[in-house]
């Protein structure tokens, strides 16, 4: 077995037993990147030299600390290029920040660095996290390791593809409307969006502040719990960060699911869902029932309005969040302008891609004098209704189970010129962000040879139940999903 194929907990065990070193593990992952990334194109920046140095340091630290070494010590990881990494360029896959090297680490990076992870690189994404396929990256499109003619999903497509292709043992993404769960589903890995406020947003380049949340991509549910424990926790530098204790999820997830109640929302199996996707998800639900989980139908009646609500609130916030990119302090600056105002419009006109500009325009319009009440204010009211739907459902069930995406990975180019069809890719993931809830996606089968995602949505701060359900399903199904591309790709 190639070391790059290991999960976090498998690598951990070998490192602890002294059967391998972080240096060897890192070399295996870098070799995999070397072998595959020309095809997959998951990475915007590969930090091979830094990674080797960090691996050496991790091995030295392990020699010192032994059994006390933190769980992620020496584990090679990839980080979505929207999370600030001190000294390593953080582009948001935008021309605007193509050469931007942040002077500080995001809180999640401080936490991971305290664990002693090995950063192998920064991953590709849709520009400023706006998109569902990475086709809106200003640099290139990431390929789905299961079929390189297809998208990996997005916006965190690079992070999902990197883990699926064993180019990282785990990775981080950000999820504003499904940007972790949808690519996790399309690439056949586990992806979680924690409850809004669970993970500090300090240092996450903002897309939509009230919706953004950082979360992990992993090869299995156990890894998800391990990484989650490392990145969660209250942060004084983020006023929206929740003062919630971090549970021992790795232990809690192993509790029996017998007697748990899950709700199946009929609104998540509507027109547009691919029959094979539905079949896989329904089969998974049956498997849960066989484990003693009580399954019942629930309704989330305002689901239809989630898309419209999201596409007002997210662009509105984005229009302000992206106002800072003016070419004056950092980032791309047009050199042709005669006046300050011309410099502004040229810099932003040339530095942003079309999807980003579309959303800035929509958001600016929605907040404009005379339109605010009809759009932004109304959207906030509907947002409350959507959250109430979930609250009512959670009075009856412990979690919601549904597909992550109505379709398997679509072909590159298929939706990129039709914003509406692209936006529909996130139909089943958006409501969770709008309501601020936790959600997890895990693979539950293949349809036309491509992974299908099973999604659990939970009560605020009840990641524990989601991990229990996901772990129980993973154990019961016994399947491990690996794209053919990865096998024997790198010779080490």
């Amino acid at each position: 077995m190639n070391l790059s194929e290991l999960t976090v907990h498998e690598a951990q065990d070998r490192l602890r037993r002294g059967e391998t070193t972080s240096a060897a593990l890192t070399e295996a992952v870098l070799a995999q990147i070397e072998a595959l990334d020309e095809t997959v194109r998951a990475f915007v920046t590969v930090t091979a030299d830094e990674a080797r140095a960090q691996a050496q340091a991790a091995d030295a630290r392990r020699a010192q600390e032994g059994a006390d070494a933190p769980p992620l010590l020496g584990i090679p990881a990839a980080i979505k290029d929207v999370v600030n990494t001190k000294g390593v360029r953080t582009t948001c896959s935008s021309r605007m920040l193509e050469n931007y090297v942040p002077p500080y680490d995001a809180t999640v990076m401080e936490k991971l660095n305290a664990h002693g992870i090995v950063l192998v690189g920064k991953t590709n994404m849709d520009e400023f996290a706006m998109g569902s396929s990475t086709e809106h990256s200003a640099f290139f499109t990431t390929r789905n390791p299961w079929d390189t003619e297809r998208v990996p999903g997005g916006s965190s497509g690079g992070s999902a593809a990197a883990v699926a292709a064993d180019e990282a043992v785990f990775s981080l993404g950000s999820d504003t409307g499904g940007s972790i769960r949808q690519p996790a589903a399309l690439c056949g890995v586990v992806g979680m969006k924690p409850t809004y406020g669970r993970v500090s947003r300090y240092g996450l380049v903002a897309f939509a502040s009230s919706l953004d949340q950082i979360g992990p991509f992993t090869k299995d549910v156990t890894d998800c719990a391990i990484v989650l424990e490392a990145i969660c926790g209250h942060d004084r530098r983020d006023a929206t960060s929740a003062p919630q204790p971090v549970p021992n999820w790795r232990e809690e997830m192993t509790q029996s699911v017998k007697g748990l109640r899950v709700g199946v929302p009929k609104e998540y199996f509507g027109a547009g869902i691919e029959p094979e996707v539905e079949a896989s998800v329904r089969a998974a639900i049956e498997q849960l029932a066989a484990l003693g989980v009580a399954v019942e139908d629930v309704s989330l009646p305002h689901t239809d309005h989630a898309l419209a609500t999201y596409y007002i609130i997210a662009p509105a916030e984005a229009s302000a969040n992206l106002a800072r990119y003016d070419g004056i302090k950092y980032g791309y600056a047009s050199q042709d302008a005669e006046t300050m105002w011309e410099a502004y419009s040229r810099t932003r006109g040339e530095g942003f891609g079309s999807e980003v500009k579309r959303r800035i325009l929509v958001g600016t319009h929605a907040l404009s004098s005379g339109y605010y009440d009809a759009y932004y204010l109304k959207a906030q009211k509907v947002r409350t209704l959507i959250a109430n739907d979930f609250q009512e459902a959670f009075a009856r069930v412990d979690a919601i189970v549904c597909p992550t995406s109505a379709t398997v990975a679509f072909k590159i180019g298929e939706r990129v010129d039709d914003p509406m069809s692209m936006y529909l890719s996130d139909l089943y993931t958006l409501p969770c962000n709008v309501a601020g809830l936790p959600g997890i996606s895990q693979p539950c089968g293949l349809a036309q040879g491509l992974p299908v995602g099973l999604q659990f949505l939970g009560k605020p701060f009840d990641e524990s139940t989601l991990l229990r359900l996901a772990y129980a399903y993973e154990q019961a199904s016994g399947a491990r999903y690996k794209p053919a591309l990865t096998s024997g790709a790198a010779q080490t």
Binding site: Y104, L204, A316, A320, M340, L367
Partner: protein, 488 residues
């Protein structure tokens, strides 16, 4: 009877103040708010530079300062408040929006009553809210002719308090008086230096003139760039006259616009019209959760309020029997009032201390452009001077001389009196000798006195004082002269 131009029109003025708060750290980060002495762009961090990914965190001290000001201005403190983003692009605004407060500010619906001397009217306060300051732009033209702008982010994120009045102000003089009163209160609270000159306190004014009998139209002119209350008064006088002249012309050609005051020419010039005005697209700041200010917390702040100028003035009149004029003068600032109370407690003669302060001390401070805190005469020293007079050790006339020495040298009264031998001569036998000598040397005056010109005695007293270099106790001299002359 013909009405004058002044009677034909009424002026409507509303004011907006931006006041920098003197907190240790900035509004949303841990950078020092005391940036003035530092080189440009050295008191900065990812938050106040608006770097990608940085987030604001509220400085609670700022909220306390603003609520304190609101309470001092008789505002209501609503239980819920929130922050909003005010969007507009400019290089001195690093995030492209300013964190401010739109529809749920910390303080609403207050009032401030002006001193009787300033007309005594009560001016409504619409709101007091929080904003963050911008960076500072400097526009440069190089000797080569190249023009560029420099931006210093040290000021970025410094907490500002905005105070907005109702359009209750009727004259430029009243506007200036309101500004001074507000400055006085803010300084009493110790929440700002409130200096107009260095921009720690900034004033924008909305002014419009209307026919006295007609209702107000919707034209409003905003005047900016005034860096003293004198400028506020002058700019508004100019604007009042300009608008009145337009109305007198018969056709109202005024437009809603922003005009800048140009100190050098004494004029306002148009800067921006309504068509060019920004749509700020306010919306709730998603990075900062709404705040709930409990009544208990607000009462806690209220308990920290110091005695305010109006109450202090009343107390000085009642407790120290000061005139309204002296009481106002001595309560100008907390520091001056404290000086007075410290000195009068030691001297046990408040009126004398008040007199020395209002007639001498303030003048000397003014002439030398010295703040009361830097006064070379400590309160205890002024008290000592008063005690020396009250115990008869020095004459009032000598005291004046001693006071000037004290101010010039910082020495104590007793030391100056000792060094210069200024102790009053009250020794009767010593004075009798001098009186006898003066009588002998001034026969003409003695003759005048004896012929009934009683006033001649004044001349003779003066001669005794001259001979003693002012140290003779004038009461005893007078008495001795009367005795000697009657005998003679």
């Amino acid at each position: 009877m013909e009405t004058t131009v002044a009677e034909k029109y009424r002026t409507v003025i509303g004011l907006e103040f931006h006041i920098q708060l003197v907190t240790e750290s900035k509004m949303f980060c841990t950078c020092s708010a005391q940036y003035a002495a530092h080189p440009p762009n050295t008191v900065v961090c990812p938050v106040c530079l608006g770097l990608p990914g940085a987030l604001p965190v509220i400085n609670e001290k700022v909220i306390e300062c603003i609520v304190m000001a609101g309470l001092a201005l008789n505002c209501t403190i609503p239980e819920y408040a929130k922050f909003d983003r005010k969007n507009y692009p400019y290089p001195d605004l690093p995030k492209g929006y300013q964190i401010s407060q739109f529809d749920l500010p910390f303080c609403i619906g207050g009032r401030l009553t002006l001193d009787e001397e300033d007309g005594g009217r009560t001016i409504g306060i619409t709101r007091v809210h929080q904003e963050e300051d911008t960076a500072k732009s400097t526009h440069v033209t190089a000797p080569s002719g190249e023009r560029y702008s420099l931006v210093d982010f040290n000021r970025s994120g410094v907490p500002l308090m905005e105070v907005v009045t109702e359009p209750d102000i009727a004259t430029p003089q009243e506007a200036a008086a309101f500004g001074r009163k507000l400055r006085q209160i803010v300084r009493y609270l110790g929440i700002s230096t409130a200096n107009m000159e260095n921009g720690a306190m900034r004033c924008d004014a909305n002014i419009s003139v209307w026919p006295a009998e007609a209702s107000m139209g919707d034209v409003k002119v905003e005047v900016k760039n005034m860096n003293s209350f004198r400028s506020v008064e002058r700019a508004l006088e100019f604007e009042q006259a300009r608008q009145t002249r337009i109305l007198e012309g018969g056709v109202d050609t005024r437009i809603t616009e922003t005009r800048g005051w140009v100190e050098a020419t004494g004029e306002t010039v148009s800067q921006r019209t309504k068509e060019e005005a920004h749509d700020y697209r306010y919306f709730p700041e998603p990075d900062l959760p709404p705040l709930q200010l409990s009544p208990q917390w607000v009462s806690g702040v209220e308990e920290k309020l110091p005695e305010l100028p109006a109450a202090k003035r009343q107390r000085f009149m009642a407790d120290y029997e000061l005139s309204a004029y002296d009481a106002r003068l001595l309560t100008q600032s907390q520091e001056l009032a404290d000086y007075f109370e410290t000195a009068s407690a030691r001297a046990k003669n408040a009126k004398a201390v008040a007199n020395w302060m209002s007639r001498n001390l303030l003048q000397r401070l003014n002439e030398s452009d010295t703040e009361i805190n830097d006064c070379p005469i400590a309160p205890a020293d002024l008290a000592e001077l008063v005690l020396l007079i009250d115990s008869g050790e020095i004459s009032n006339r000598t005291a004046q001389e001693v006071f000037d020495h004290m101010f010039d040298t910082g020495k104590s009264a007793r030391k100056i009196v000792a060094e210069q031998g200024l102790t009053q001569i009250s020794d009767e036998s010593a004075l009798e000798t001098i009186v006898a000598q003066v009588i002998a040397e001034n026969p003409a005056a003695v003759q005048d006195f004896n012929q009934g010109k009683k006033r001649a005695i004044g001349f003779l007293v003066g001669q005794v004082m001259k001979a003693t270099r002012g140290k003779a106790n004038p009461g005893i001299v007078n008495q001795k002269l009367q005795e000697e002359l009657r005998q003679g």
